[in-house]
Symmetry: C2
Subunit: 489 residues, 2 copies
């Protein structure tokens, strides 16, 4: 009871202080009244004042947006293994050094896949006039092998699920091109569950080609995993199983998938396909790891991060230049305010997330011995829309320890928290090892319209919303770095 | 007064008849009560009953949509002078013959321009890393000449208007690439004035290249004339002036225009550009002209029409396969209902509208002697969104003659009329010659997001809305063909 009493009073006092200091009563909501019997007092009034300073500084600066302009307009797409990805590593490292951080490049071997040419046409289909072909718009899946140089031509068989594919059996699949026509659930995305809608699509892109190959298919196509209807193919990674032949794979636009599925109902559809990607030997690349040393517990680490690599069709602004520049801006704000976290805040720009979280896995492995010193890890990897708050993958017991942080974050309309099983890719190996992990939670209703397409460009990021995201990441990171006792692992 | 009295009573009686016949009181609004002193009584109660039948039949049929599937999925893009355009001519002619119409192909010489390759990169720009280029997404303007086969490279100078170009003068333009960065007014489009927003853009696309060339520019780029932000270039026609050198010209996506304009503010931006279009000798092509003969005045003609050619990036569903199939469905409905218009209803599928209304001009010229017999001309060329009603280019005195038609059209939510100075391209030469002309008036708030892009595909047309449009065209055409006296020229 005693603890609960103090927490309640602490919250009321801190709210009063915030009102006095900021003159902004709108940003302070009525604190939750549930008693937290076991919750320790971990935020000093001074910390809450500093958090409010950090928030205001982040909201008032365009540093993150200017950094994002460098990554997108200056450097461009940053495909794993590419020269641009290396340029980005060098740039982020030098900028973080300029901010006074202790910067290391931690080597990661990454896939080095190059897109090449992409050409597809329907060469035979019901209702066809005078043998004229119909152009099909698609993009090769990352990791796919090439077709023969002169292309391949085969009939397309359309399925909506793995179950439908299995039901067809080898007799109906052998020698054909399988189109997985699973449709992105736009309604789900419109209701704020874009990530969940996307996760329903991903197995078809990653595992579909091998599932088709097991039944003798000669190529696999997947309907693009995204929500717009502007004839844009969505790129993405696929993975070959060892128990199946490797066949070429590409993602069609929704329009082209509809066209083929519609025609297939009327009669045989034959597709000509040329894809000329190359898989080169794995390339040496780097996670950029930069520490702002803690004043009391420098060995204890709070990670702020985003991934630096991107797909190659757009310039990787929302996926995930935004996450990287939020992390950069987090430490820039602390330097500017001359605030010294008690624990170290570590910026990480992850490499090769798009090919399956390569950099994140490499980090968790090479830092295995120090996992206990990782107090928390934060990543943003769902764009830069207006933030609602953050997701948590940790014990439910952390909630009361985070309540005052949420209270501060409400000042930028982003005080919500939610517990989740699925945290951002790069930090999920840390989460598996018991590190409390946090993802930024944005309004992502349009994110999957642009994600992995040519339209993922700087103009999709609203500077004010990007700054709101920085405020969340910086406030959360600083609070975690200054808790009087760490979150439970 | 007498006339006014009869009109009022006529309206009340006809409303009562409609309610009795259709059992649908929702479709009948209270008639306007303004007296039409001079308006003649031109609609019989029988005609109104037939109009209601036509409307119901159109709304209940998917004939137009099935025809549109043939034009888009079966035939594909129908660029002026192409084999697909010829396939479309043959198909529409044969289908109209099947419906029992008297079909002629009227020869038109049309531009025969082929797109070729399109490649552009920023090769030098502020903030550039290690000499890496940035890909630029664009599409060659219809009618443009090619660059040298190995491309050209020059600095880009950005202007927002012709005035800004003139102010720069030859000293700042010579040897450079001019980017006309006039922005499509999305707000205007969202408010229902998409056509007006588009018209503000067109002069830059059509006349911009020669304006730039007059000051010594080596190429011209225009920001795409459209409203989406999915990195889609919008194709379109340009025209060289005789007083300027011919320079290559292309349309950039909005994103790429923003990128260049933003970088140009920081320092010189150099662009590498290769375009390989070809202009072949003019090709023989055709307007498809098909008559459903009038029972009383076969020599008098009411035209229903759309244009059959399209741009080549998409499949020309909304621009303007939709208009053509509305006209086809108009006569199909009359045949099905065994209704015989008193005047002839003439279906025209116009050719080469996209290169400046070639087919429409040719028709007006070759039919000059019979213009007086053209009672009215209708075209739909703004997509297939839910129709609001129709636009009129004619004397204001026609309004009371059309009031009962509007009353019937309210049954599909489309009873509005508006007078306009700018009527659809193909029929505007007829309008100039005094023929009362009508355009379908659709909800076009998203039309210019897709217009002239790769995303102009069948899925953008909602079958029910297409049928609503057919109902408007068919009701209006039949009413005009059966007026007891023609509209004044």
């Amino acid at each position: 009871m005693c603890t609960s009493y103090w927490i309640k009073n602490f919250q009321i006092i801190s709210v009063a202080i915030l009102i006095l200091l900021t003159g902004n009563s709108r940003s302070v909501a009525v604190p939750r009244q549930e008693p937290y019997e076991e919750a320790p007092v971990v935020h000093s009034p001074q910390l809450l004042v500093e958090l409010k300073q950090i928030q205001q500084a982040a909201l008032g600066s365009d540093y993150a947006f200017r950094q994002l302009a460098v990554l997108t307009a200056g450097i461009g797409p940053r495909l794993s293994g590419s020269v641009q990805a290396q340029n980005a590593v060098n740039y982020v490292a030098s900028e973080l050094r300029r901010l006074g951080l202790d910067v290391r490049l931690e080597k990661v071997l990454v896939p080095h896949w190059i897109r090449g040419e992409e050409k597809a046409e329907l060469v035979k289909f019901p209702g066809q006039m005078s043998g004229m072909a119909q152009r099909i718009v698609l993009t090769t899946l990352g990791g796919s092998i090439a077709t023969p140089p002169t292309g391949l031509t085969a009939e397309v068989v359309t399925v909506n699920s793995f179950e439908e594919l299995e039901a067809l059996g080898r007799a109906n699949v052998e020698g054909k091109i399988v189109l997985f026509n699973r449709r992105f659930d736009e309604q789900m995305a419109a209701q704020g569950f874009g990530v969940e809608a996307y996760r329903q699509m991903v197995p078809y892109r990653t595992r579909g080609p091998s599932a088709a190959a097991r039944l003798g298919a000669v190529a696999a196509l997947v309907r693009s995993a995204g929500g717009s209807n502007y004839r844009l193919p969505h790129a993405g990674f696929m993975r070959y199983s060892n128990d199946a032949a490797r066949i070429p794979a590409a993602a069609l636009t929704g329009e082209d998938a509809d066209l083929i599925a519609g025609l297939s109902k009327q009669g045989p559809v034959r597709l000509y396909l040329t894809l000329t990607p190359q898989t080169l030997p794995d390339a040496e690349s780097y996670n950029v790891v930069a520490d702002l040393k803690g004043s009391e517990h420098p060995e204890q680490i709070v990670i702020v991060s985003g991934h630096l690599d991107s797909w190659d069709l757009g310039t990787g602004a929302i996926d995930d230049g935004a996450g990287v520049v939020m992390a950069m801006h987090t430490v820039q704000v602390l330097r500017e305010l001359n605030l010294h976290p008690k624990r170290s805040i570590r910026v990480i720009a992850w490499m090769s997330e798009e090919f399956g979280g390569i950099g994140g896995n490499a980090y968790a492995k090479s830092h295995q011995a120090e996992i206990a010193n990782h107090i928390a890890a934060i990543e943003s990897d769902h764009g830069a829309g207006h933030p609602l708050g953050f997701s948590i993958k940790a014990s439910q017991t952390v909630r009361p320890m985070l309540e005052p942080v949420s209270l501060v974050l409400q000042g930028s309309g982003a005080g919500l928290t939610r517990f989740t099983e699925e945290i951002e890719t790069d930090i999920s190996p840390l989460a598996e090892a018991g590190v409390p992990c946090f993802g930024l939670w944005q309004d992502g209703r349009t994110y999957f319209n642009y994600h992995h397409t040519a339209a993922d460009t700087l103009d999709k990021v609203v500077p004010k919303e990007l700054a709101e995201n920085v405020a969340i990441m910086a406030v959360l990171a600083y609070a975690l770095a200054n808790l009087s006792q760490p979150l439970p692992h």
